[in-house]
């Protein structure tokens, strides 16, 4: 039977506040265990939470960014369960009245097509600490540095249909939140963690199948693999006439498989009730409108502008607009170079290719936008050929200076002097009488192919610096 995959995602996004959501402790990643945990984070007796306003602002900015309903009165609740890295024995979260309500989110697929994904809700909550199971002589250690870090849990409708769509959603989400600067989006450090709800149903069916939930997947690649594995596992069960069990599973990246969590690890009755230590968060129109006014141009708007302003294709525009830093870089190059299409091509092909090869982010790019723009100008004014430009780019990447410096230092300037070029062309013709004879005997169609040989020879003699247009013109004249 043909099955359709139905996926909903819950993303836990760490918000980029300087201090925790309910205490003044810093949120920086990687500090020595328990050095960023205050009496509040340790749930010492008598300690009380105080809501970090910045976390509220960030949550509202997210809601505005996806055009969602903003909860004018949202309520914090206690979600009760015992775990050693949950110091209070409850997590402060939001249950019935979240700060962000329904919204939609557009994703773009590889083929350039777009889809709307429904966002059910997004709510604020605090992160738990970490249990450390190594180096404690059979005991577990608890690190509460992360406890109380603000999270925005973003829940989608079951609108995603494949691993590709899930990854596209996560990438678009990553793009949005980094544009908004409400999260660093650093998946390796756990700033974006994903729970996947996945079920299969016969193609054409409207009812949802039984779902499994895969917890805490923390990279795009693992999300893709976990979904692919889970589709296979569930379809095998269904093909054999079995039933999928509703359960929580863990993705094991080392074995590339999902396995059920022990039932002990799954709390089932959280006994939610309104947190009496915090007042409801009441937002007025002015607060929301002030934040709306601070929103930057968002990825989708930018993409559409790149298409209309620079005449870029939808997909290319999408790639360039995916990261705010990349988009800014591209626009700086385009404006300095004076040719957006060539700028787009260079940024997308050469620059991104090189960044990927070195596993670098655009923020760490060693070539400033102004240098790349200068390089493109040298192509446009015929100082160098496209081929030489790639060589110059490589030198810029290696920190050898800007384009003009490198071109001068290496003597890479294109030879456009007609006398110099003529001498080269004459030399090549003299050195290759056989080919000259062949050329002259050939008809028009064949000549076009044969001339390439002579061009190549001239370029070789000129170490690639000869102006190809002028060489072509001279060869045509000289070969007759």
């Amino acid at each position: 039977m043909q099955y359709e995959t139905v996926i909903g995602l819950e993303v836990h996004l760490q918000l980029a506040t300087r201090s925790k959501i309910f205490s003044g402790s810093p949120t920086a990643f990687g500090a020595e265990p328990n050095t960023q945990a205050s009496a509040v984070d340790l749930a010492m007796p008598g300690m009380l939470p105080v809501l970090n306003e910045q976390a509220v602002r960030f949550a509202v900015m997210f809601g505005l960014g996806i055009g969602a309903e903003i909860g004018r009165r949202s309520v914090f609740d206690r979600k009760n369960y015992f775990y050693p890295d949950l110091p209070k024995g409850y997590q402060i979260s939001q249950f019935a009245d979240p700060i962000v309500g329904r919204g939609t989110f557009e994703i773009q697929l590889e083929d350039g097509s777009t889809r709307e994904i429904g966002i059910t809700r997004a709510h604020l909550e605090e992160d738990a600490g970490k249990s450390l199971h190594e180096d404690f002589h059979g005991q577990s250690g608890i690190d509460l540095n992360r406890a109380g870090t603000p999270l925005l849990e973003i829940v989608t409708e079951p609108d995603l249909r494949s691993a590709e769509e899930a990854v596209a959603y996560l990438k678009a989400l990553h793009s949005l939140v980094t544009y908004l600067e409400i999260s660093d989006g650093n998946m390796a450090e756990g700033s974006m963690r994903c729970d996947i709800n996945i079920s299969l149903r016969p193609k054409g069916s409207e009812t949802l199948g039984t779902r499994a939930e895969i917890k805490n997947v923390n990279s795009f690649r693992f999300v893709e693999k976990a979904i692919q594995h889970e589709i296979e596992r569930q379809s095998d069960i269904l093909e054999d006439g079995g039933k999928v069990v509703q359960e929580t599973r863990l993705y094991d990246a080392d074995r590339n498989e999902t396995r059920p969590m022990r039932s002990k690890e799954v709390a089932n009755d959280y006994r939610y009730f309104p947190e009496p230590d915090l007042l409801p968060v009441v937002l007025d129109e002015a607060f929301i409108e002030d934040l709306r006014a601070t929103l930057p141009e968002l990825p989708r708007e930018k993409r559409e502008r790149f298409v209309s302003q620079y005449g870029l294709g939808e997909y290319d525009a999408g790639v360039l607009a995916a990261s705010r830093a990349l988009a800014n870089y591209f626009e700086a190059v385009a404006s300095d170079a004076g040719d957006a299409k060539i700028a787009a091509n260079w940024v997308q092909v050469e620059l991104l290719g090189r960044l990927n090869r070195d596993e670098k982010d655009i923020e760490d790019c060693p070539v400033p936008a102004a240098h790349l723009a200068q390089l493109i100008q040298r192509i446009l004014d015929d100082s160098i050929s496209g081929k030489i430009a790639k060589q110059v780019f490589e030198s810029m990447w290696n920190g050898e200076g800007d384009a003009d410096t490198i071109i001068a230092a290496k003597g890479l300037k294109q030879v456009s002097d007609s006398g110099e070029l003529e001498a080269m062309v004459d030399g090549v013709i003299a050195d290759n009488p056989g080919q000259v004879e062949q050329y002259r005997a050939a008809d028009e169609g064949k000549r076009k192919k044969l001339v390439g040989f002579f061009v190549g020879q001239v370029m070789k003699v000129s170490r690639g610096q000869a102006n190809p247009q002028m060489v072509n013109k001279l060869l045509a004249e000289k070969l007759g």
Binding site: A43, M44, P45, G46, L48, V50, P87, R271, F273, L278
Partner: protein, 487 residues
Amino acid sequence: MHDQTVAQLARGLREKRFSSVELTQHLLDRIQQLDANYNSFISVTGEQALSDARRADSQLGNGEGGPLTGIPIAHKDIFCTEGVRTSCGSRMLDNFVPPYNATVVSQLAAAGTVSLGKTNMDEFAMGSSNENSYYGAAKNPWNTSLVPGGSSGGSAAAVAAGLVPAATGTDTGGSIRQPAAFCGITGLKPTYGRVSRLGIVAYASSLDQAGPMARTAEDCALLLNAMAGHDAGDSTSTVREVPDYSADLERPLEGLRIGLPKEYFGDGLDAATGQCIQAALRELESLGASLVEVALPNSALTIPTYYIIAPAEASTNLSRYDGVRYGHRCADPVDLHDLYTRTREEGFGDEVKRRILVGTYALSAGYYDAYYKKAQQARRLIRDDFLACFEDVDIIAGPTTPGPAFGIGEKSNDPVAMYLEDVYTLAVNLAGLPGMSLPAGFVNDRPVGLQLIGRHFDEARLLNVGHRFQQATDWHTRKPEIAGGAA
């Protein structure tokens, strides 16, 4: 000196009739000599007290300081005190020494008070008799075979026995007012949000409120002046300005309308106690107040509502006591589950366990709507009843408790009988109102308390009425005969 009120002691200190060190030493001596009879203190911090008293004396010598400078007080052992064990009456926190002060403790220290130590209480403030303390029952100075009330029983007993002129308490369902009534002292529970809860070990967060316990309303006003105020560290504390609670004490009572809820004078009220209350009301009438019968039609909902909401909040507030970070931890746990269960089995007493069970049940899936949600709706009705009354009257008055202090052991095996002790006080917490208990007579040599209930944030009015009443009566000046005869 130990017979004087805070106001009198403040005058004595200012007039240099005695120093804070002398006063402090005198009270420390009394505690040492007498408290074996009352068990009102869990910890006595004599050295720290004398050092604080010396500092107060030097301030007073320089003509500095305020009305509380050099005044000895005691804190209920629910207030976190930096460097001083804060047990909350529980084995669970027997070893807990906080690295911080509760805001109330800091404020009272900043006002110049000298803390003598930490007073006994029902474990985690759950109880009405002080029998639920890991440190043993505190005893009523009027008769040591009687309970002092609870949960702030140690504070009430210490003030009544003349071991300290004033003490802090907390009141979640009557825990200041009921022991004040049983011990013949004055106790005020402020409006919810008036005093910071930061650093007070939480029992039921939406009901807990700290307040002063002393001999007189005038003293309570002095203490409340230092305790009240907004605290950025407690989101539920109000930003509303703090009035000078001492300023309006003398205001005449002419024109004051006092509401008498008929539900508070019904079958459950002990007859002799009722007569004391009636006499006190006539006294107020003679001072110019008019008495008006009012109705609180949802009163019958009070006990079930309280005993769902308070345990529900308590059940999660007490989840943090898991043996992982501080407090009691069972020996040699074999695994996590064993650590949790044995730590909590050993660390908590029966009443605490009972309320955790009740609260957990009330919040459980399938019961939430029937219990917790229903209780919240009832709570709204109870509050609305009071607000409706306050359309017609300025304050409400009635008995603090159904009867005077009962014997130690008399009700300790009957939780429901114990819960009924708080029938007149619980609703005040559910409605978030200020309430006060004043000494209003005796039944068989046992003190009786008159309860006054005010509008939200109208503590000044309660203190004013209490002060005028105390100017016209002498119940608050009566002192128990102190065993051992120390003078």
